[in-house]
Amino acid sequence: MGPSNQSKTTPLSPLLAGVGLTKSFGRFVANRDIDFTIYPGELHALLGENGAGKSTFVKMIYGLLQPDSGHFEWRGQPVQFNNPQEARAAGIGMVFQHFSLFEALSVVENIALALPADFPKEGLAELIAEKSTEYGIPLRPDSLVADLSVGEQQRVEILRCLLQDPALLIMDEPTSVLTPQETRQLFDVLAKLAGQGCAVLFISHKLDEIKQLTSRATILRGGEKIAEVKTKDKSAKQLAELMVGSKISAITPPEARNNAPAILHIKGLNRPAAGPFDTALKDINLTAHASEVLGIAGIAGNGQSELMNALTGEYCSSQPDIIFMGDRDISQMGPMARRVAGLSFVPEERNGHAAVPGMRLSENALLTSYEREGAVQMGVVSQAYATQSADRISEMFDVRRPEADPLASALSGGNLQKFVVGREIAKKPDVLIVSQPTWGVDVGAAQFIRKAMMDLAANGAAVIVISQDLEEIFAVSHKIAVLHEGLLSPAYAAREMTAEAIGLLMGGSHPEKAVKKPAGKSAKKSLRKSVKGARA
């Protein structure tokens, strides 16, 4: 299924070359003396941990940043892109990790907004339709972006680039939001593009995908180029070790457990959609057992944030008898009362939800622990308590800080995520509920976070992980349920599930239907088993 790309003949002259590129921010050197080449039609991976300098590097290519020293050569000519417009004019397109689309506008309106002023707007819809057939990107120009899945939204971004006939397309972590099926479609598109001579720079931390899609990889670590390798010559493990700089021990998928007591019960949780862009939750039933990780898979926008808000208590049901902690009805409690009852939460969005970027780490530590003993006395915050707990969390969870008590915004994404997850785990909760625990986090930090969650479960807590990342779901979960359009499937034992089966559930197929589709043989078997198991 994977596109074959190894056989491309590599022309002698590179499309884009970077020579001795260095970029520093104050004293911090984000990129040091990096050499880089990409050839026309090449599928090239840029690999590195968070904070390795990948973003800085692609921002320099795309004209968002200018190198302090070193220069680029475009088709053999020295060149400097002072801004993205110049980069686009030269033929560079970029699809960002976070899309910049207006939900209330249609596909064609969104694309029209992003095109340069002199681009002919007449017949744009036809042009989009034409391009989408040409590259096998199914998309209706007049559909509203709000109605599109994340994968489809990404296609809008890709089409937007393709309309300007790029010679180089930069994709920043494109598969982190896709189902396995969508990922395969994306790879087909990228392979087709490469076949027509467009170079693709593919940024990812998913090593299997990099091996599957790309032919060469440039590996960054700590702002320096560590290696440039042919991806087929290296195993995923070797690539990971190059990237992290040390040996990696794989997490073993957890053993299923029997007879663990149930801690958290949800019985028939309904929640109407608050607005046109929200998802209604329909009759959610869920049980979290002690010493068990329950993975909730699903594509973003299928009710994850609504479910999370209902669990944290930010959305509070007006009715009792829905959410139980043991025998205790916590349906109508606010977030802090639920924390006191033994729950802990890590919402998906770090900035402005799980943490406040403009506040210090000590204040962020206080955010979810001000009810704890010693934190606040007579209404006065104990600075010592806040600072100590921030220090303790940072030490336990290896949070690298530029100074003793920095602003949260001064931490890299991975480090801040370790902090917010660590903050909750350090409280030793009975139930930990985490949404997208490793979103946008480097491999090392992701391993660390997953291990910490599993350790917590091993010590008797119930852990619920809501994630779009199937690899992650499989790595940590004992049981797996799938959220689709506000409906939660029953939880199946993880060992009996396959990526294929979950993918079908994520796409809205029911397990019964899923078996009829030509999935892999083993998937069929295991699904039948699991369906039976769930009915029993």
Partner: protein
């Protein structure tokens, strides 16, 4: 094209030097304007900045002028930190004065030394409740608190106007719109400084203004409730996640700032006027908005900012009286002073960097670090 870049670190010398530069530039530009208009620039600047401080009693008057600005400014800091935009402190001031006035006029015989405290309580209650109206409408119907609080100011002013001409008018006032004068127990005594004696109009309210600003600073920077306010202003989602209520915070800050504005109104009347009349405030409720921002929403800095603005106000009055400089010109001068102070403050934290436009080449090399287009 120019962009403002945050400075990585701000040297102390710059922090100290910038206000000086700002004031020197104000003096130069202000002097030029006065000169062009035919006034002696040196004399005008003297009247503005030196005359109000030239005599001890003038210093007392400066403090008296700053008193309501500091009290109201502190309250507004609470609101603005919580991202709640109370523009109606003037109306809350008026309601506070009326609340206290109602007590003073209802109990003319009272002699207790605690009467002032009761009046202060009534003023804070009245101002706080007036502030609760925009809070209620915002929480319940999502109205814009800027509009509601501002419009309520006019309601309050007209309410006061009607009440001093109608129900509360002193029958012996010969038709003037005045109430009876307050009993002595309802008047704030002058502050007699040991060894100095009276200092102009200086009264005890000024001491409370300082205490309130310091207390406000402690509340916002050290207490959980203050943390909650800042959190709701900075990141409301994180605030809700922490378990705080947006609605309660909105009520709290509007009522706190309303109560403080009301207290300022009570102090203003009880210390300086002694009775209610149609106009009891020189727009303190509005000027305090500038004070709060000039202080960068820090209650301790509100003291300094309140004094600076009070100096500009007093200087403007002095220049009008002694040199006949029109009010609009003194207004322009105050504007220049504010502009310079704020520009200086901004340039302390950011630096101006020239970057190339779309056509430019190479100039962008000078820019390092994250850019903030301002």
């Amino acid at each position: 094209m120019f962009v403002l870049e945050p400075r990585a670190s701000v040297p102390l010398s710059l922090t100290l030097l910038v206000p000086v530069i700002a004031i020197v530039l104000t003096l130069i530009i202000g002097g030029l304007i006065f000169g062009f208009l035919g006034y002696n620039p040196i004399e005008a600047l003297y009247e503005f900045f030196v005359a109000p401080l030239s005599r001890p009693d003038q210093i007392g008057n400066l403090l008296v002028k700053a008193c309501p600005l500091i009290i109201i400014g502190t309250g507004l800091v609470f609101c603005y930190r919580a991202n709640v935009w109370n523009i109606g402190a003037e109306g809350q001031l008026i309601l506070g004065a009326m609340g206290a006035g109602w007590l003073a006029l209802s109990f003319p015989e009272v002699q207790s030394p605690f009467f002032l405290a009761v009046m202060a309580g009534a003023a804070m209650l009245a101002g706080g409740l007036w502030g609760a109206i925009p809070a209620l409408l915002k929480v319940r119907f999502r109205t814009n608190e800027i509009l509601v609080s501002l419009m309520l100011t006019y309601v309050a002013a007209l309410f006061l106007d009607w009440i001093v001409r109608g129900p509360w008018r002193d029958p012996m006032s010969f038709g003037f719109p005045l109430t009876k004068t307050y009993p002595d127990a309802g008047l704030i005594p002058a502050l007699i400084l040991p060894g100095i004696g009276r200092l102009g109009q200086l009264h005890w309210g000024v001491i409370f203004a300082f205490l309130i600003a310091i207390g406000g600073w402690f509340y916002l920077s050290r207490m959980l409730a203050g943390f909650q306010i800042k959190l709701m202003g900075d990141a409301p989602r994180a605030g809700r996640f922490a378990g705080f209520s947006q609605a309660k915070t909105t009520f709290a800050v509007l009522m706190i700032s309303g109560a403080l504005a009301g207290l300022a109104g009570m102090i203003e009347v009880s210390a300086n006027i002694g009775q209610l009349q149609p106009h009891i405030s020189f727009g303190y409720g509005f000027t305090a908005i500038i004070v709060a921002f000039l202080a960068r929403l820090n209650p301790l800095a509100v003291i300094v900012a309140g004094l600076v603005i009070a100096l500009a106000e007093l200087g403007g009055d002095t220049a009008q009286i002694s040199m006949g400089i029109p009010k609009v010109v003194t207004g322009i001068f105050k504007g220049i002073l504010l502009f310079m102070l704020l520009a200086g403050e901004t340039l302390t934290r950011y630096r101006l960097v020239r970057v190339s436009g779309i056509a430019g080449q190479g100039a962008a090399k000078t820019s390092k670090g994250g850019k903030a287009n301002v």
